[in-house]
Symmetry: C2
Subunit: 131 residues, 2 copies
Amino acid sequence: MATLTLTTRDDTRPGADSAACCAPLAREPLTAEAATTLARTMKALADPARLRLLSLVASHEGGEACVCDLTEPLGLSQPTVSHHLKVLVDAGLLTREKRGVWAYYTLVTEAMNAVAAVLTAPSGRTSASTY
Amino acid sequence: MATLTLTTRDDTRPGADSAACCAPLAREPLTAEAATTLARTMKALADPARLRLLSLVASHEGGEACVCDLTEPLGLSQPTVSHHLKVLVDAGLLTREKRGVWAYYTLVTEAMNAVAAVLTAPSGRTSASTY
């Protein structure tokens, strides 16, 4: 699987560009296409086990973790954890690198930040943000 | 279902505090409870029509819109749009105010920003963000 290079975009993994495409959704109406792409990423995030996996991987020593590090804290079987990890890799939110017996997963911070940027309301738009 | 009161909030809308609870998920492991709550909000966001609705409402004149403003740009029936709006209100992402014949919807920017804050990777965590 290709290394992430979000700036030069030759990345063909599904979801990899999912959110990087879009201005903050509160600033201008999302196109149907952008909404479909973003919804796909949101779907990958819309699961408690997957959110915990992202969090465990990111906060693990060295910012990476293998399945062997993740099954116990989640209390799920290895096949289930592997399935969720695959969904997150397919969504472009984790990268996977095989080293020896295990595959190691790392958070794709650019992808997470891109999703966050789309959701963030531009400052000054509402009373809530002017205080 | 119990009302969430994770801060001092006297807000009883379901989901209103959904994301305000959590530190950035990349900083420390999400608890199972926080992950469940956040996943519920993500589920509300994991639909193209709902993402477009949030975007249309937020970018509409005055930052509010009624169903009458939303059916045409989405190309969906009024009952379908109303259903999606209800999901977003229940998730604490929109507020609804009845005025005369129509109900007017407004984006809850704090809720959107709270979700964004949980997803945002703390700066300096990875090589990606140092360059």
